[in-house]
C-alpha cells in the first residue's frame, strides 16, 4: 500500500476536523483579545484636513485611537514594495494609516482598539474626518488620458512601461499576407475567499517575543516584514498561518497595513489584539485584479499560421503597487499559450487609478492573456473560414520542439522556456470529450427547434512552480511517527494529504503515520509562500528529497545493526527488512531510537539507546564526526526555471433568442499537470478554478462609479456563482512529466480559471455570429450587442461570407 500512495485519490487528512467544526481559522483563535476596527476613507481621492476624535472618547470599552502621526519609526513609513522591477520606475505604496492623502475608498485612516468589535465600530463611527476633495481617476481610459493624476509626482499615471520584442515584428507584419486587429477588454474581479484577511498578535513581555497569526499565503514573508517594521530581531518574531479559508492570491501580498498595526498595538498595549476583516472591508481594502484594455495586431498567412504578433496592453494597477507589476508581466508572457507567434512584440503600461490596489488573483494575468490570444486565433479562423481547432493545431509548439524557448523573460526573471507538453494530444482528447466534430449536427438540430447554441474553445500554458525555493524537514520519532514540515502555507489545497502521500511513498511508511505542518515559522523558517501553482512542485519536491535523505540514513543505520548491505534492505509499512528475507527486520521507530545515543532512558524504547545498553563500539564516538543525532533529514528544492503545465477547455453555450440569457450546457476540460500526486485533489482544483472562471466570464465585475465608489461591495451585489450557476465540469487528463524536478510534476492550482472567459466568449460568438471582444458579458450586454449588430454598427463574423446559412438567418430574425 505504501508504495502506491503517490498517484492515489486518497481521502484528505484535514477533512475530519474541518467538517466537524474543529478547524482553527484566524477568528477561531484569541477569544481574550482586544478587537481592532478602522476608520476608512469614504472618498476615492482626498486630502485629510482634520481628524476629530472628541465624540469617540466617551464610549465605554474604548482602549485606544491612533492616526498616522502616532506611528513611530518604520511603522509610520510607507509599506514595502515587495517586487521591484527596473521598468517599475514609479512604484508607490501606501502607509499603514493614511498620511495626508487617501487614494481609494477603503484606505485605512484611523486605528481603533476596544473591548470587542461592536464597541470598536461604535468608536470608529464617532470619529470625524474632514477632507478636501481631489479629482478621482477611475477607469483605464481616464488614467491613460492623465487629465487628472492619482499621485502628484507621477505625471502620466504610469507606474511601469515595459516592452519585450522577439524577432522583427514590423518587418514580419509588413511581409504577412494578411493582418487583423482586435480591441479587447477585461473587467475587474477579485479573489473573494470566503474568509477575509485577519491578524491576531500576542506579545510576550517576559521574553520580548511576538507571536503573530495571520490568514496569509506566506507566514515567512509576514514574519520578516513585521520584524523589520517593528525593529525586532527575527528570532523574536514567529508567524503562523492557521487554517486559512481560501486565498486565491489576495493573501500573498504582505504586509497588509493590519499585519503591521495589530502586532505593533499588541506590543504597545501588552495585550493580545485581533482584527478580522469584514466583507465590506475585503471589497474595498484588500485587492482586485483582471482589469485590462488590450489591442492585438496579428499578421498571418493563408493557412492561418501566425507570422507576427503585436500586442499592447493597459493594466489598471489601482492606487498602489506593493506587489510590483507581476500581473501584466505574466499577461505579456503567458499570452502566447501553446503557440509559436512568429515575431512577437508586447508593450504594456501599468496605470494608477483611485481604486483599490491590484495584486494577483488566481491565474494572475493569464486569463487576460489567454483571452487576447484565443480571441485572436478565433478571428484568424473566422477570417480564413477554417476550423478553429485546425488553426490552433497549425500554430502549436510540437512535442518534438520541447524544450521550447520563447526568448522572453518570465515573471521569475528567468527564461520563458517550456519544459514539456503534448498540445496535439491534448487537443485530440478535448475534441473527443466535447464531440467537436459532431457539433454541426447538434447545432442544426437545436436551430431547427428555435434554439441558439455555440461551441467555444480555449487553450493555455501556465508557468507553475516558480522559485526561488521551498524546503522540507522530516523527523521520525521513536514511536515511528513521521513529522513533516514545510514553510509554505495552505488555503484548502490539501497539503497535509499530498505531502504525506509523497513521504509515505518515498519513505515506505503508512500514510496515517505521517503528520504534515505547513506555514509555521517555528517549524520551518525558510520558505517563500503559496502562489503561482507552486506548492506541490516546490514543497513536494523538497519534501521528497528530504525523505530520500531520511531513508538513506535509516537504511545505513539498519544495515549496520542487521549486518547486511543497505542495498539489500527495503522499507515496507514502516518496517525495514531484508529483501526476500522479511524476518530479518527492524522498525523505523527502532532505527530512530538507535540514531539518537542517549544518557537517559525516558521509556522502554529509549533504553536501547542508553550508554550501558551494550550496543556501542568504544572505539568510536557515539555520534560520528560527519553525522548528526536523530533520524531526520532536511532538503531544499530550488529550480532553474518554472515548469509549464497546460490545458484546453471547450464549452457549449445556449443563448436565449429573446432574453439573451446565457446558459452553459456543457463544460469540458483537458488538463496536463504531469503525474498527479492525488487526482481527486487535482480534479477539485480544476472544478474550483472553472467555477471562478465562470464567475469572471458571466457575473463578476467591480462596478466603480465616476467618483470612485465601489457600488457593489457586498455579496448581495457582487455576483459570485452559486451551485445554480456552475455547470457540470467534465474532465480528462494527460500526464506529461516535467524533466525539471525529481517527481516530474507540474502545478495545478490556477489552471481551471485561466481560459474560461476566452472559452465562453468563443462559444457566445459562435452562437451569435458576431464577435465578442469584452468580458465579462451579461445578458443585458449581449442583448445590446444584438441591437447594435442588427443596426449595422457591430460587425458579423466573417464566416457569414464563407457559410451564409446560420448567422445571416439570425440577423434576419431580429
Amino acid at each position: 500500500m505504501t508504495t502506491s500512495m503517490f498517484g492515489a485519490p486518497v481521502a484528505r487528512r484535514e477533512d475530519p476536523r474541518l467538517v466537524t467544526g474543529n478547524g482553527r481559522f484566524l477568528d477561531d483563535l484569541g477569544h481574550d483579545a482586544l478587537a481592532a476596527a478602522f476608520v476608512r476613507s469614504p472618498h476615492a481621492h482626498a486630502r485629510i484636513v482634520d481628524i476629530d476624535v472628541t465624540d469617540a472618547l466617551e464610549v465605554d470599552g474604548l482602549v485606544g485611537i491612533w492616526t498616522h502621526e502616532d506611528l513611530p519609526g518604520r511603522v509610520g513609513e510607507p509599506l514595502p514594495l515587495l517586487i521591484p522591477h527596473p521598468t517599475l520606475t514609479h512604484g508607490r505604496t501606501a502607509y499603514a494609516l493614511a498620511k495626508d492623502e487617501v487614494n481609494h475608498v477603503g484606505e485605512p485612516i484611523v486605528l481603533v482598539i476596544a473591548r470587542d468589535r461592536y464597541v470598536a465600530e461604535d468608536v470608529a463611527q464617532r470619529i470625524r474626518v474632514e477632507y478636501e476633495f481631489l479629482t478621482p481617476v477611475v477607469g483605464i481610459e481616464m488614467a491613460r488620458d492623465a487629465t487628472a493624476l492619482v499621485h502628484d509626482d507621477v505625471t502620466d499615471n504610469v507606474s511601469a512601461h515595459m516592452l519585450q520584442e522577439v524577432g522583427d515584428v514590423d518587418a514580419a507584419m509588413a511581409a504577412a499576407p494578411r493582418t487583423l486587429e482586435l480591441d479587447l477588454s477585461i473587467e475587474r474581479s477579485a479573489c473573494m475567499p470566503m474568509e477575509g484577511k485577519g491578524v491576531y498578535a500576542r506579545w510576550d513581555d517576559d521574553n520580548g517575543e511576538l507571536r503573530l497569526y495571520s490568514s496569509t499565503q506566506t507566514s515567512t514573508g509576514v514574519r520578516a516584514a513585521v520584524a523589520a517594521k517593528l525593529d525586532l530581531p527575527l528570532a523574536k518574531v514567529e508567524c503562523i498561518a492557521p487554517d486559512v479559508g481560501g486565498g486565491f492570491g489576495v493573501k500573498i501580498n504582505h504586509p497588509w497595513p493590519e499585519e503591521v498595526l495589530i502586532p505593533w498595538a499588541a506590543r504597545l498595549l501588552g495585550h493580545p489584539v485581533k482584527w478580522v476583516e469584514d466583507r465590506r472591508e475585503h471589497f474595498t481594502s484588500s485587492a482586485h485584479e483582471r482589469g485590462q484594455l488590450q489591442t492585438v495586431k496579428v499578421g498571418f498567412d493563408d493557412d492561418g499560421r501566425i507570422l507576427a504578433l503585436d500586442v499592447k496592453l493597459w493594466h489598471d494597477n489601482g492606487a498602489y503597487t506593493p506587489y510590483g507589476i507581476i500581473v501584466p508581466i505574466i499577461t505579456s508572457t503567458q499570452l502566447l499559450g501553446p503557440y509559436k507567434p512568429g515575431a512577437y512584440r508586447v508593450e504594456f503600461w501599468s496605470l494608477y487609478t483611485n481604486t483599490v490596489l491590484v495584486t494577483p488573483y488566481r491565474g494572475a494575468g493569464r486569463p487576460q492573456g489567454c483571452f487576447a490570444m484565443e480571441r485572436t486565433i478565433d478571428a484568424i479562423a473566422d477570417e480564413l473560414g477554417l476550423d478553429r481547432t485546425e488553426v490552433r493545431s497549425r500554430n502549436f509548439i510540437l512535442p518534438s520542439e520541447m524544450p521550447y524557448d520563447h526568448g522572453l523573460l518570465f515573471q521569475d526573471g528567468r527564461p520563458l522556456r517550456y519544459d514539456s507538453g503534448d498540445f496535439p494530444a491534448s487537443l485530440d482528447k478535448l475534441k473527443a470529450l466535447v464531440g467537436w466534430d459532431d457539433f454541426a449536427a447538434y447545432r442544426a438540430e437545436a436551430e431547427a427547434a428555435g434554439r441558439k447554441v455555440g461551441l467555444g474553445i480555449g487553450c493555455y500554458v501556465e508557468g507553475t512552480g516558480v522559485g526561488p525555493y521551498e524546503g522540507g524537514h522530516i523527523q521520525v520519532e521513536t514511536s515511528g511517527r513521521v513529522n513533516v514540515s514545510t514553510g509554505l502555507t495552505s488555503q484548502g489545497q490539501g497539503h497535509e494529504t499530498v505531502f504525506a502521500q509523497v513521504v509515505a511513498s518515498e519513505l515506505g511508511v503508512p500514510l496515517e503515520d505521517v503528520h504534515v505542518t505547513t506555514g509555521d515559522t517555528r517549524r520551518m523558517p525558510y520558505a517563500v509562500g503559496t502562489f503561482a501553482s507552486r506548492a506541490a512542485v516546490m514543497s513536494g519536491n523538497a519534501i521528497a528529497l528530504a525523505a530520500r535523505n531520511v531513508r538513506a540514513k535509516a537504511l545505513r543505520i539498519a544495515a549496520d545493526a542487521l549486518e547486511v548491505s543497505a542495498d539489500d534492505l527495503e522499507i515496507v509499512d514502516g518496517d525495514i527488512r531484508v529483501k526476500g528475507a522479511p524476518d530479518t527486520h527492524m522498525s523505523l521507530g527502532t532505527v530512530s531510537v538507535m540514531s539518537n545515543p542517549l544518557r537517559y532512558a525516558f521509556d522502554e524504547a529509549a533504553k536501547a539507546a542508553t550508554q550501558f545498553a551494550g550496543s556501542n563500539d568504544p572505539s568510536k564516538p557515539p555520534v560520528a564526526d560527519d553525522d548528526e543525532p536523530g533520524l531526520e533529514g532536511k532538503d531544499f528544492y530550488s529550480p532553474t526555471q518554472a515548469t509549464f503545465a497546460n490545458g484546453m477547455h471547450a464549452a457549449i453555450v445556449e443563448t436565449d433568442p429573446v432574453t439573451a440569457e446565457i446558459r452553459i450546457l456543457r463544460y469540458c476540460v483537458v488538463h496536463d499537470c504531469g503525474p498527479m500526486i492525488n487526482p481527486m485533489i487535482v480534479e477539485g482544483q480544476v472544478h474550483g478554478g472553472v467555477a471562478q472562471g465562470v464567475g469572471g466570464a458571466l457575473y463578476e465585475r467591480m462596478v466603480y462609479d465616476e467618483s470612485g465608489q465601489l457600488l457593489n461591495a457586498s455579496f448581495m451585489d457582487f455576483l459570485m456563482p452559486y451551485a445554480s450557476e456552475v455547470p457540470v465540469i467534465e474532465t480528462d487528463h494527460l500526464e506529461t512529466p516535467s524533466p525539471l524536478n525529481p517527481l516530474g510534476i507540474k502545478g495545478a492550482g490556477e489552471a481551471g480559471c485561466i481560459p474560461v472567459s476566452a472559452v465562453i466568449a468563443s462559444a457566445i460568438e459562435d452562437a451569435e455570429g458576431f464577435p465578442i471582444r469584452s468580458m465579462p458579458i451579461s445578458p443585458v450586454e449581449l442583448w445590446q450587442l444584438r441591437q447594435r449588430h442588427a443596426a449595422g454598427d457591430w460587425p458579423s463574423l466573417a464566416r457569414t461570407r464563407h457559410t451564409p446559412s446560420s448567422s445571416t438567418q439570425t440577423q434576419e430574425d431580429r
Partner: protein, 167 residues
C-alpha cells in the same frame, strides 16, 4: 448619537446542541458571535455578515437559518444545532462523512453551513436526484470547490442515511 455609550448586559440562555448554555451579553449580540465567541463553538463561520453566503447557517428547531441575522436573545426559545452537534471527528454524521468521501470541501470555511443546510434538507427529502441536490445547496456560497463534489456529497449522504436506517 443613537449608539449607546454604555451597554446593558442581559442574561441569555440558549439550548445549543441539546445543552442549555448561558452568557451575559448585550442585546445586540448576534447569535453567530454568541456561539463563536461567548460559547467557543467556532465551527459556525461568518463569511459576509449579511445573510448571503450561508457559512453561518445553523439549525433553529431543525430548520436552517443564518445565525448572523439573528440575535442571541431571540434564540432563547429555540433549539440551536451547530455543526459541532452533527458529529465528531471519531463519529461523523452522514453528511460530514459524505463530504470527506467525496472531496466536498477544500478550505473548509463554508463547509459547516453546507453541512447544516444539507442535514435539514435530507430530513425532508431523503432521496434527492442530482438536480434536486444542486438546487438544495444553491443558497450557500463556496469559492473553492465549484460545487460539483458538494452535489456528490449530498447524494452520498443520502445513501449513508439509508444504509444507517437499514442496519
Amino acid at each position: 448619537m443613537s449608539e449607546p455609550v454604555d451597554e446593558e448586559l442581559l442574561d441569555v440562555t440558549v439550548t445549543v446542541n441539546d445543552v442549555p448554555r448561558h452568557a451575559r451579553v448585550p442585546a445586540r449580540r448576534l447569535l453567530s458571535d454568541f456561539l463563536r465567541h461567548d460559547l467557543g463553538l467556532t465551527g459556525t463561520h461568518v463569511g459576509c455578515e449579511h445573510g448571503v453566503c450561508g457559512a453561518c447557517t445553523v439549525l433553529v428547531d431543525d430548520a436552517p437559518m443564518r445565525s448572523c441575522l439573528m440575535f442571541a436573545v431571540s434564540a432563547q426559545p429555540h433549539r440551536i444545532t451547530t455543526v459541532e452537534g452533527l458529529g465528531t471527528q471519531d463519529a461523523m454524521g452522514p453528511v460530514q462523512q459524505a463530504f470527506t468521501e467525496c472531496h466536498g470541501l477544500q478550505c473548509g470555511f463554508c463547509t459547516p453551513g453546507f453541512v447544516t443546510t444539507i442535514t435539514a434538507y435530507l430530513d425532508e427529502n431523503p432521496d434527492p436526484t442530482a438536480e434536486e441536490a444542486r438546487e438544495a445547496i444553491s443558497g450557500n456560497l463556496c469559492r473553492c470547490t465549484g460545487y460539483q463534489n458538494i452535489v456528490k456529497s449530498v447524494l452520498r449522504a443520502a445513501e449513508l442515511r439509508q444504509e444507517a436506517k437499514g442496519q
